[in-house]
Symmetry: C2
Subunit: 329 residues, 2 copies
């Protein structure tokens, strides 16, 4: 393969793996007018994807971004059928290196030579994913965030053998999906987002394990506290404001020393004993068990839509992605 | 002191330390109708606090929570004058144990016996703060989040010698301020929020130090990615949804093993060399330097207000705090 096909709007997209992530990818592309063929060996595929698409349609209707014409969604009988004719193939299978490699081999045996192959992995290295491929230059990671049809960020990461062309095509495809792709320039385990998320997750597990806080308490500290800030500015821009007129350097010099304080148990990882898993499950049940997953999804999506609209009215951050999406719809 | 004065709405509040946090505490209480006396030795106090109060008034006007009657704001000439007659004294001085202890000694020599004394520290242990006090039972930590007049969370932490009564009075006072106080039941370094924030901050510093990502890129991953989610649900409730119909235990069993992967550099702390401090300062300038701090504050507040109103319309999370605030105003 000399180069993957040109970027811009992919007319035909293939989704391999139809869990929460794969289904939401399908929904986003269908709502952006692309024809989508999806394949997953599970018997549940059609029900899961239809449900996710319903959620996505409802969310986009509330956003005011309902497309004039949806793409056609097809449930393929085989992987080969799903990838046939696609210019973008998005793999969203479970996080297992061997099974993903096997999927890429199957994809390569059926896909067009010019197709871009993207993996939704949240942490496996693209260099490892592409190691056994015939045309490794067309493999990228495109790591999205749930719900994929509403969250604009997608991390784009290339491996050692990924071509620059593939990166730029991936970026333009995701732009066409109405997203805000970020090219992660250095290939590291877990990329950027999951580095941060794993750090929080690990610390949160310690807090629960040590009985310091429940899942509800931790979630409240986040969603009624700093999480509100992070929906519109990130870590550094908020700290920049905290530094006041002294700015960022003032902030770091003032608060930096606390990094050496014993404020973390991050040097070790709690063992995921059955007891701990059960405790977290129980606490989560007590916190959210009176809602079904469907109800929680609907609540979450309603909140996100209204916040996105709010941010759009301020022409800021993720609101700019909605504005762009609206201009395009 | 047998017990601190009854909870409910404190008519007279004293703020010691008038930086960004102290000024915003003053603004919240004045807008909740309490009379506030504030003291800080800095010559800038009146300007800083007046600016913060202007921001807060504007934000509350947009929220629709402008009070019928504001409290009276007084700039005291001394600490003794500031604490005289106050039922709640909120200390928001720099993060230094010795200087805070010295301030508490001064407070105790002038304050009413029944006054509750709260520290805004984000990490110093209340047991250490109260160690030299005559009436240590009335000392609590009340750790807020910037901007204090908009973010509802405040962590309430007692030390070994704090009375249960002081905790419950603190909780009722902060409720009266329209906040959503959380009683952190176990006294640990950094409490809950800063445990999580320090973990992210440390990881983010590594990413910047190693040249993996810039402050802008990290902020974008947060504010266009998972930060959007965290403004309305926390870590666990989002992961619960990610687990799909299998729920929380399914999620943990599926993703837990990645905790053992080499996905973090959290076992060590980067040295805050001048070079690193300068690099972060420069990147932050490139990212945000075209806005003044005042402009950034206004943008941030507009975003937060609109998101809070959005969440209120959904009767969810932080929106419930706004609803309560409105019912009270």
């Amino acid at each position: 393969m000399g180069s993957v096909s040109e970027g811009s709007h992919p007319q035909r997209v293939s989704i391999i793996g139809a869990g929460v992530i794969g289904g939401a990818w399908a929904a986003r592309w269908v709502l952006r007018g692309s024809d989508v063929a999806i394949y997953d060996p599970s018997a549940e595929t059609e029900r899961i994807v239809t449900d996710v698409l319903d959620n996505a349609r409802y969310a986009w209707e509330r956003l005011g971004t309902t497309p004039r014409n949806e793409g056609v969604l097809a449930f393929a009988e085989s992987l080969g059928e799903a990838v046939d004719g696609a210019v973008l193939i998005q793999e969203s299978a479970p996080e297992n290196l061997d099974s993903k490699r096997s999927i890429f081999a199957q994809i390569e045996s059926s896909a067009d030579k010019g197709a871009l192959i993207a993996s939704s992995t949240s942490g496996l290295l693209p260099s490892d994913l592409q190691a056994e491929m015939t045309h490794p230059e067309r493999l990228v990671v495109g790591h999205p965030f749930n719900p994929v049809y509403l969250i604009p960020m997608v991390e784009v990461v290339g491996g050692k053998r990924t071509s620059a062309d593939s990166i730029s095509v991936a970026l333009s495809f995701y732009e066409a999906a109405g997203m805000s792709p970020l090219h992660v320039r250095v290939e590291i385990d877990a990329f950027i987002a999951d580095r941060l998320l794993e750090a929080v997750w690990r610390e949160a597990l310690w807090l629960v394990k040590d009985g310091v806080a429940t899942t509800q308490e931790i979630d409240d500290v986040i969603r009624l506290g700093f999480g509100l800030r992070w929906a519109q500015m990130g870590l550094f821009e908020n700290y920049r404001i905290a530094g006041g007129e002294g700015g960022m350097e003032h902030f770091i010099r003032q608060f930096g020393p606390s990094l050496s304080w014993p404020w973390s148990k991050l040097t070790d990882t709690p063992e995921l004993t059955d007891e701990l898993v059960t405790r977290i499950g129980d606490q989560s049940d007590a916190q959210s068990g009176h809602y079904s997953i469907r109800e929680l999804e609907r609540i979450r999506d309603n909140n996100l839509v209204d916040m996105l609209l709010a941010l759009e009215s301020n022409q800021w951050g993720a609101g700019l992605a909605v504005r762009k999406l609206r201009d395009k719809s």
